[in-house]
Amino acid sequence: MTENGIPAVELDHVTKQFGEFTAVDDLSLSIGENTFFAMLGPSGCGKTTTLRMIGGFEDPTSGTIRLHGDDVTGLKPYRRAVNTVFQSYALFPHMTVAENVAFGLRRQKVDDAEIKRRVGETLELVQLSARGSAKPKQLSGGQQQRVALARALINHPRVLLLDEPLGALDLKLRKEMQIELKRIQQEVGITFIHVTHDQEEAMTMADSIAVMNHGRIERLGSPSEIYEDPRTPFVAGFLGASNLMHGTVSGNDVGLPNGAVIRLTDHQAARCNGHREVQIGVRPEKLSFYGRGTSENTPANRLTGVIADASFLGTSTQYLVEVPGIGQVAVVEQNLGEIHAPGEEVVVAWKPEHTFVVE
């Protein structure tokens, strides 16, 4: 947020329907100034449609969109101080890199000397100074990506929209570009709205993430907030892996079908608000193995089971533990000492503060 508190982008009860299909369903959202904001979700969740409505490529069926407090609903893209990096880059194939980058300034009738200066400056920002006279076809995927970025940023938009910008790159390049994008966002200091289906990408770059499903926002918050307390089974499953279990609440305790009792924090217990039957979850890396003889050092939440499978992943090992009455529980342990073998009977335990309740 800026000092005066006006958000960069504000969606107010926005709905978009395509015929019978509701792509975005009564969505309200406010994105602060100078944030890296990610919209994360599976395909068809409405994230791209939301982005396209902010850009002006689609008009909402109902609702209001504001940019820095001004109502822009129904305004054409060329009247919005917003620029987009398209999924397939959409570089103009008949123009050189420099002409592509200068396109927006030319349309705004900026004078030639100024255009020349800013094209040079922006190509430098994306480290492509030497390729100004090349055609897009002659560049690699990563370079084309950076041209698309430069072409948008040169206009000094107040909000930059990125539609799965890294989707077409290979893994190594994608990692590099994630860091690069974050650096550029901090350097230019504007709001980036990034649409992606890659949870790791969203968590690496974003200050704030909206997890979307069926045209609605399921969870909104910082990456760590969302990860540690996903609140819904969908978010728990979409962002990283989770062990989810059904149980019955009484006070701060949850009774599981196999008789084990799991302890919740006061905060999580309050979230059950009167429900008896709940689903609780815990991330696999929060679980540890303990021998049969438990001591006072063993965390309070415990399950007993038999290791069904162990997969060595390099830095860690992933185990599947068969717990009678509950099913398989995934455990990820750092490879510090011994590696357990399938068939071994174990106690897995975790701390109450690592338990979350999902609705």
Partner: protein, 293 residues
């Protein structure tokens, strides 16, 4: 292949793979050799003969070539003029038509394309003859134009350059529309979105992105229209009068009526050369690399 190959075998495979493009070219090349190159050389040979049918002999009769300018200048001028005007008319009609089908056609796209090609299900002669009825002296078009004062009371359209150009434009319209349609259809829509995102108004987006990227279709369409239109003679025969005779009519009558093969051959060859010479700068200017890309 699961077994490992020895080096000589690998080399043989590589050699064989290198041969494939040539083998694939072979039938086409053979066809062009037999039915294009050989006849062209023979045409050149005939064009330098002299004499009276059927006794021609090869005498390096260069004079045959001069006839195009000395004797048939008017017909050459008619050919180029009519073909040029008809090509411009086709372009003006076909571009918006192709644009509409490609961008606004939606689920009607295929239906609209069939409509565009529908007249071609009718024989060429019937199609052209029907213009005789449309443009007839007592017909609807002439009557209407007279009543609103665009035509004088004694004016006609049939047997004038107007009817010939109308016939040519009508017959070649799909050859212009289809290549333009294809180039617009395959144009990535996100490029137009990107242009409007970068502050281009719709007209600017068209001028800076859509039009330049559809130029390969425009070039292909104008070539497919202009080249056959220059050599056309049927439209003149059916809709024109001897005043509108084009070079095609001369060649046809030299070959089939007068049986003056050498002059007919010289005219044919010169016409071809003139068209090629005219089109080289055009294709250069509009970008050949996009045409083949």
């Amino acid at each position: 292949m699961t077994t490992t190959l020895h080096e000589p075998e690998l080399a043989r495979l590589a050699r064989r793979r290198a041969m494939v493009p040539y083998l694939l070219l072979l039938p086409g090349m053979a066809w062009l050799f037999a039915f294009f190159l050989v006849p062209i050389l023979r045409l050149i040979g005939v064009s330098l003969q002299s004499g009276i049918y059927p006794n021609y002999e090869f005498t390096w009769q260069w004079d045959n070539y001069a006839r195009l300018w000395t004797q048939y200048g008017g017909q050459v001028w008619n050919s180029l003029r009519f073909a040029f005007i008809a090509t411009v008319i086709c372009l003006v009609l076909a571009y918006p038509l192709a644009y509409f089908i490609a961008f606004r056609g939606g689920r009607w796209k295929n239906f609209l394309l069939v409509l565009l090609l529908m007249p071609f299900l009718m024989p060429f002669l019937l199609r052209t003859l029907s213009w005789k009825i449309i443009l007839a002296d007592e017909g609807l078009v002439v009557g209407t134009l007279k009543s609103i004062g665009l035509l004088g009371p004694n004016a006609t359209l049939l047997a004038t350059s107007v009817s010939v150009i109308a016939g040519i434009a009508y017959n070649f319209l799909p050859f212009m529309a289809l290549p333009i349609y294809v180039s617009l259809e395959k144009l990535d829509r996100s490029l137009i979105e990107a242009a409007t995102d970068l502050y281009a108004r719709p007209t600017e987006a068209f001028r800076k992105v859509t039009l330049p990227l559809s130029m390969p279709g425009v070039v292909a369409g104008t070539l497919l229209t202009f080249i056959p239109a220059v050599g056309d003679y049927v439209n003149v025969l059916l809709l024109g009068s001897p005043n509108e005779f084009m070079i095609g009519n001369v060649i046809q009558s030299r070959f089939l009526n007068v049986l003056d093969y050498p002059v007919a051959a010289a005219l044919s060859f010169t016409l071809m050369a003139v068209i090629v010479l005219m089109l080289i700068p055009y294709v250069r200017a509009t970008g050949t690399d996009d045409l083949v890309a």
